[in-house]
């Protein structure tokens, strides 16, 4: 026998998302070599270390997608580290000892 149709249920989750997501794009001066996905991740960790020290560098950040051509990526970070990640990316100004760069970002969806 088929189970009865689901009874109505509603749950409201307030600021309960485990992760936050950011869509970011790296801007380098013309002619600079485009980083690979692994290097891009390294860059994100470096940015976190520079601003927030080892604690920042240990923050779990995932590069969910990375397109080398446009140097755009979707990042996932644990919610409590969201402000740290955004600030670190905003203030990062060097890549391979060359002054560059800005990372523009917007959230794509915070669950």
């Amino acid at each position: 026998m088929a189970p009865p149709p689901a009874a109505f249920e509603r749950r409201v989750l307030r600021s309960a998302a485990e992760h936050h997501y950011l869509r970011v794009r790296l801007e380098l001066p013309d002619g600079a070599a485009r980083p690979s996905a692994a290097l891009f991740k390294q860059l994100v960790v470096t940015a976190l270390r520079e601003l927030h020290g080892e604690v920042g560098a240990a923050l779990p950040v995932d590069v969910l997608t990375y397109e080398e051509k446009t140097m755009s990526a979707i990042l996932r970070v644990i919610s409590s580290g969201f402000v740290k990640l955004w600030s670190a990316l905003t203030l990062l100004g060097f890549y391979q000892n060359r002054r560059y760069i800005s990372i523009s970002s917007c959230i794509i969806w915070e669950q």
């Binding site: 149709p5 109505f8 749950r11 309960a16 969806w109 915070e110």
Partner: protein, 363 residues
Amino acid sequence: MSSLLLRRLHQTPRHLLVCEKSHARHAHSRHAAHVRDHAYNCRVSFLIPECGMLPEVLKSTIADVGEYYVVRNLPLHELVAHEFIDNFVKKGSCYALTYNTRIDQDNTAALLPSGKLILSVDKDTYEELGLQGRPSQYSGKKVMRYIITIDLTDSSFHPDSKKNKRVLWALKEKKPLKFDFLLAWYNTGAEGSTLMSYFPQNQIRSLKPKITFSTLRDLQCPVLQSNELQGKPEESCSAEELFEWLGAVLNQVNNKSSNFVSTYCCPQPSTTAEQAFLCTITGFIIPETIIQLLEKLCCYFDEPKLAHWLTLTVHGFADSPVSWRESEHGFHKGGENLYNFVVFRNLDYWLQMAVGTNDDCPP
């Protein structure tokens, strides 16, 4: 002071996720009402696991997705003109939303199918217009943004009324506002003029929504049980887990990776679908279309299918002045307002509605 700053560093912007479950054929089910209440939608995607070819009925529904219009440089008072109200607003569902305007910086306007015209304007414009409004809920202590709501179908808004004259004067002479508009009109059969012929040819352009199909191979899908919204350890995944997974699928995240770059993987337990059909429609998509599509997706399970469930995801415009109904919407950090249906084989469904920081709780 420093401890306060430190705490702020760990805080995340407020966000809400509402999860509901019910049955699509239940007499009191509110699924259609929730769709209808979310007026402005820019992207609709549906995902059907274990489906290689779309059934004809769904194909024709997608082909029938109505066109919408872009009107350039339209003076706002044209939407308040009586000819427009009588021909379109009162004779069907009329949707209008300013295009390329930013809700946290620019003046924006939206016309709801209920006949309410909503203006979200900065302080200077508000003062120049001299129309009655209220401070925006999200503009902080020092109010920099105001919301003006004008009910175009209200009986006190007839052509000779004082109110009507004042609104026209404010929008025509006092502070003329011009916008690019997205427009759509839905009416049930009644003959009449069309938007295309109402506006000057050099101003209006009709557009078809952009539709893309793709087949995903060997997709790992979470196991879901319709009566377990919160999931059961070892048995099924929760609504939140599904929501994240779906975001990953729609953004084409490789969900097998578990390495230095990304540790994301599909929630467990999961099964592997040999193929899954993903269709995405982008444009100015009105709720009537989405309700029709949802209905046809429910009918997908009329015949026995391998899939246990399918999903329909709808994204709202990030810069729309409202999310659900007339609830004020703001951008804050991302402007997200979206919802997602999971329809199960037995027509039980889950509905997830998500909003960001500057939003009321979804209905």
